[in-house]
């Protein structure tokens, strides 16, 4: 299964696991466990002439869900994911792993954009410059015409505000 993992580990990590955990070390552990479970349960995979990626993705999502549920780190996120599970349990109709990963990337981005859209303009810009465009602090400060220290405060408040609003959004029915 090594070639399969080499192909699918990056999209599983980048678009499925990491955006749901936020912690690189935890995401790596879940990816490893996902692959180990896949090897263990490969007998249950029903080949239907389509990619194995949705099956791997489902294992990964279940692992993330278990993590949130057991650690009780984020009840809101766990509940949101529990609602997500039934819809995601039958993804065999999707044609190709790359397309699924791209679709998921767009979906993740849309969720972030929805939250950013309702934040104060300067907070939104601070997050986009620093975390989306990954410009240096100095460059971000220059573009906003503030000192680096002021930009640090702006980003700090912006991420706190994002966290609060993102959580609130997940609470909505």
């Amino acid at each position: 299964m090594r070639p399969i993992f080499e192909r699918y580990a990056p999209p599983l990590y980048g678009t499925v696991i990491l955006p749901r955990t936020g912690d690189a070390a935890t995401a790596e552990e879940i990816l490893r466990d996902t692959m180990a479970t896949a090897v263990e349960k490969i007998g249950r995979f029903a080949w239907q002439g389509k990619t194995i990626y949705p099956w791997l993705r489902q294992i990964a999502i279940n692992k993330v869900y278990d993590l949130h549920r057991h650690a009780k780190r984020s009840r809101r996120l766990a509940d949101a994911m529990a609602q997500e599970l039934p819809a995601e349990s039958a993804p065999e109709d999707n044609p190709d792993a790359l397309l699924i990963a791209q679709q998921e990337q767009r979906s993740n981005r849309a969720r972030i954009d929805e939250t950013l859209a309702v934040m104060p303009e300067r907070y939104r810009v601070a997050i986009e410059l620093r975390l989306v465009d990954e410009l240096s602090r100095e460059e971000c400060a220059r573009r906003l015409d503030v000192t680096v220290g002021t930009f640090d405060v702006l980003l700090f408040r912006a991420v706190r505000a994002f966290r609060k609003r993102y959580g609130a959004r997940e609470d909505e029915p």
Binding site: P10, M35, E134, V148, G149, D152, R163
Partner: protein
């Protein structure tokens, strides 16, 4: 800890306090390290909560990728874990009530045997200690100190001083957080080593 994060957030143009400036600068440093792929394992719960948010945003933007070498190590670890799980255990226990176990009451004549062995070995040990104390080996030529190769950096624990830093008087009672930070760092070091195959 994260209660502070849920407090009211000042507006973009509100004047920050000195404490907020310091936290913001510290968070800015953490973001720098996270963007460079060197996020520290040990950080306060508040910092961790914020860095997770930052990572979710970066991940959704496609800015966080798994390095090829890292992916390769994880694949190896997963395959090894799966193989270990499938391997039959070779250790077997004797059947209860079977085998050549003799009830202790059925062999009264040999009860003296373990006691005599224990007595003899104790006597030898006592004699050896007595000879040492008496200085029998005093005139033996002194051995040259054996130079040992230093342990490689990757096998040594990282100094805790850098993690904890100077402990401010008002945070002196917060030992649990410092222990958590050191533990997280040790765990991260172990993970690094395990992924390189160093603990097998």
């Amino acid at each position: 800890m994260t209660r502070d994060l849920d407090d009211d957030i000042p507006g973009p143009d509100d004047e920050p306090t000195a404490a907020e400036k310091a936290r913001a600068r510290s968070f800015g440093d953490l973001v720098d390290r996270a963007v460079a792929g060197r996020a520290p394992a040990a950080m306060s719960p508040d910092d961790r909560a914020l860095i997770e948010v930052a990572t979710v945003i970066r991940g959704a933007a496609g800015k966080v990728e798994l390095e090829a070498s890292r992916a390769s190590n994880l694949i190896e670890a997963a395959l090894a874990a799966a193989v270990d799980k499938d391997r039959p255990r070779t250790t077997t226990l004797p059947p209860i009530g079977g085998g050549n176990v003799t009830p202790i009451t059925a062999a009264p004549k040999r009860r003296w045997l373990p006691w005599s062995i224990a007595g003899a070995t104790s006597a030898i040990a006592a004699a050896a200690i007595a000879m040492l104390i008496a200085g029998v080996g005093r005139h033996a030529p002194a051995r040259a100190p054996v130079a040992r190769a230093p342990l490689p950096e990757m096998l040594r624990s990282r100094p805790a001083d850098d993690l904890v830093g100077v402990i401010a008087r008002d945070r002196s009672g917060d030992a649990a957080t410092r222990i958590d930070a050191i533990y997280a760092d040790r765990l991260d070091g172990y993970r690094e080593l395990a992924l390189r195959g160093g603990t097998r």
